[in-house]
C-alpha cells in the first residue's frame, strides 16, 4: 500500500486480454488485498484465453496500445479444459510472426496467472509496464499515419498555444 506514483515523461498504454476465471479473479484478489500496481493497464475480460484472437492484439496495437498483455489459467487449470493450450500455440506462432515483421515482441507479454496469484499479477504487470515504458511509444504502429483527426487535434493545440 502506498506506493508513490512516479511521473514519467511517457506513460505506455497497455491493453490486457484476460480470462475471467483465473487472471481476472487474480486481479480482483489484488484489489481485495489492496495491492498497488501500475495504472497503465486496461483489462478486457474474456471467458477464456482461448477466446483471445490475435486479431484483438493487432487491433489493440493499431489503436495505439504500446503493450499487449495476455493471460489465462495455468496449463491444466483451464476452466474449459483446453482453451489455454490453444492460446499458447496461437501466441507462440503469432509472436514469431510479429518478430519476423520487425515488431518488437517484448511488447506482448503472455503469462499464466491463477486466481490466487494476485502477487504475481501485480509483479508481472509492474515489470511489463516498466519494460514497455523503457521501450517507449510503439514506433512501428504509430508513426506517420494520416489521421485527419490527429491533424485536427494538433492544429487545435497550436491555435490555443
Amino acid at each position: 500500500m502506498g506506493k508513490k506514483i512516479e511521473i514519467h515523461d511517457f506513460e505506455p498504454k497497455i491493453m490486457a486480454f484476460v480470462c475471467k476465471w483465473c487472471t481476472y479473479s487474480g486481479a480482483d484478489l489484488a484489489g481485495t488485498s489492496r495491492m498497488d500496481y501500475s495504472p497503465n493497464v486496461r483489462m478486457i475480460r474474456l471467458p477464456c484465453s482461448g477466446r483471445i484472437d490475435p486479431q484483438f492484439m493487432i487491433k489493440a496495437f493499431e489503436q495505439g496500445a504500446d503493450g499487449v498483455f495476455v493471460s489465462g489459467c495455468h496449463p491444466g487449470d483451464c476452466h474449459y479444459n483446453e482453451g489455454n493450450y490453444y492460446a499458447r500455440r496461437r501466441n507462440t506462432t503469432f509472436r514469431q510472426l510479429l518478430d519476423f515483421n520487425g515488431i518488437d515482441i517484448e511488447r506482448i507479454e503472455f503469462s499464466w496467472i491463477s486466481a490466487a496469484e494476485a502477487i504475481k499479477w501485480t509483479e508481472v504487470i509492474d515489470a511489463f509496464t516498466d519494460k514497455v515504458r523503457e521501450l517507449g511509444r510503439h514506433p512501428q504502429y504509430n508513426d506517420d499515419i494520416v489521421d485527419p483527426y490527429a491533424q485536427f487535434l494538433v492544429q487545435k493545440k497550436q491555435e490555443s498555444a
Partner: protein, 297 residues
C-alpha cells in the same frame, strides 16, 4: 511424359470419368503458360507441362470458384508435387472431397521463379527457391503418374525456405521492420495474394467483414500491416508453400516470406508439415500438453 498425361486425360474425358481436365496451356507470350480447362477429348493436345508452369491450379478446386466449377462433378487436375500438397490440404480442410478430383501427378524438376526470368531452360539462376530441397518432385498423392514412382523419404523436414528468410532473420529488428515498411509502402491492397491462395476459402474474407471491420480496408500503413499479419496468421500451419502470393503480387512484395517463416516456426515448434495427409488437423486447432511455452511468464 506429357504424352502420357494427354493420353490419360483423353481417356478420362472419353470415358466420362471426369468433366474437365485442369491443366496448363501455352500462354500469350513464350515465357508464360496459362491455366486451361479441357472439356473435350480433342483438346487435350493443348495441354503442356514444363518448368514454366508456375501456376498453382488447385485454386480452381477451391469452393470460392463455385461459378467456374458449376457442372463439374469430378475434375482431373495436373498437379506438381507442391500443388498436390495444396489439394491434400484442401481435402483435409473439407473444402474438397477426394473423390471429386482425379490427380494427374507430374514429375517436376522445379519451376522458374518468375516468367521474366525464363530463358528457354531451367537453371540455378532462375529456379524458384521453393523448389530447392523439394521432397515432392515425385508427388505423394496421385491417381495417375507417368512411369514408376520412386520411393521418397518424406519423414525429414523439407528445406525449401528462401535464403531471404534467413537473411531477414539475421537483421536487427528495426532493419527488418524497415524492410517490410518499404515493401508494404507499395501495397495497394489489391488482395491478389488472397485470391491466388489455394487455401483462402472463406465466403466472406475477414478483410471484407464490416461487423466489426477487423482490418481497415484502406491501403494506409495500419491497414496494410494488419492485412498482411492477418493473412499470414490465417495460413499458419496451412500454407503449403506454392509461393503464388508473391508471384501474383503486382507490386512484387514478397509476402510469402511470412508464410515461409511461419512454416519454419511450425516445424520447429510442432514438427508439423501441412499437405501430406488427408486427415491432418493443422497445429493451431490441436495441442499437446507439453507444447513449448518458453516465452510465457
Amino acid at each position: 511424359m506429357i504424352e502420357e498425361i494427354r493420353n490419360q486425360a483423353r481417356q478420362l474425358l472419353e470415358n466420362g470419368e471426369v468433366d474437365v481436365v485442369i491443366g496448363y496451356a501455352e500462354g500469350s507470350d513464350p515465357s508464360r503458360t496459362t491455366p486451361i480447362f479441357v472439356r473435350k477429348a480433342e483438346d487435350v493436345e493443348k495441354l503442356i507441362y514444363d518448368s514454366r508452369c508456375i501456376n498453382s491450379l488447385p485454386i480452381y478446386l477451391n469452393k470460392r470458384h463455385e461459378y467456374t466449377r458449376k457442372g463439374w462433378k469430378k475434375s482431373a487436375i495436373i498437379g506438381k508435387g507442391c500443388d498436390i500438397r495444396a489439394i491434400v490440404q484442401l481435402i483435409a480442410e473439407n473444402q474438397l472431397k477426394r473423390d471429386e478430383v482425379y490427380i494427374l501427378g507430374v514429375p517436376c524438376e522445379g519451376v522458374v521463379s518468375h516468367p521474366d526470368k525464363w530463358d528457354g531452360s531451367l537453371h540455378d539462376g532462375n529456379r524458384a527457391s521453393k523448389c530447392t530441397g523439394c521432397d515432392v518432385m515425385t508427388p505423394h498423392e496421385t491417381d495417375f503418374f507417368p512411369g514408376e514412382k520412386p520411393e521418397v523419404d518424406r519423414s525429414k523436414p523439407y528445406e525449401v525456405t528462401s535464403p531471404k528468410v534467413a537473411n531477414l532473420m539475421e537483421l536487427e529488428l528495426d532493419k527488418r521492420f524497415a524492410f517490410w515498411r518499404t515493401d508494404f509502402d507499395r501495397c495497394f491492397k489489391c488482395y491478389a495474394c488472397r485470391e491466388v491462395c489455394p487455401h483462402c476459402s472463406c465466403n466472406v474474407c475477414i478483410t471484407d467483414e464490416t461487423t466489426p471491420s477487423w482490418i481497415d480496408p484502406a491501403a494506409h500503413k495500419k491497414g496494410i500491416f494488419s492485412w498482411h499479419l492477418t493473412r499470414a496468421m490465417h495460413l499458419v500451419g496451412r500454407c503449403t508453400g506454392c509461393g503464388e502470393c508473391t508471384r501474383a503480387c503486382p507490386m512484387d512484395i514478397q509476402v510469402d516470406l511470412f508464410n515461409q517463416r511461419m512454416k519454419e516456426v511450425v516445424q520447429e515448434s510442432y514438427s508439423y508439415k501441412p499437405g501430406y495427409s488427408l486427415e491432418d488437423k493443422h497445429p493451431l486447432i490441436t495441442y499437446k500438453v507439453d507444447d513449448r511455452e518458453d516465452f510465457i511468464k
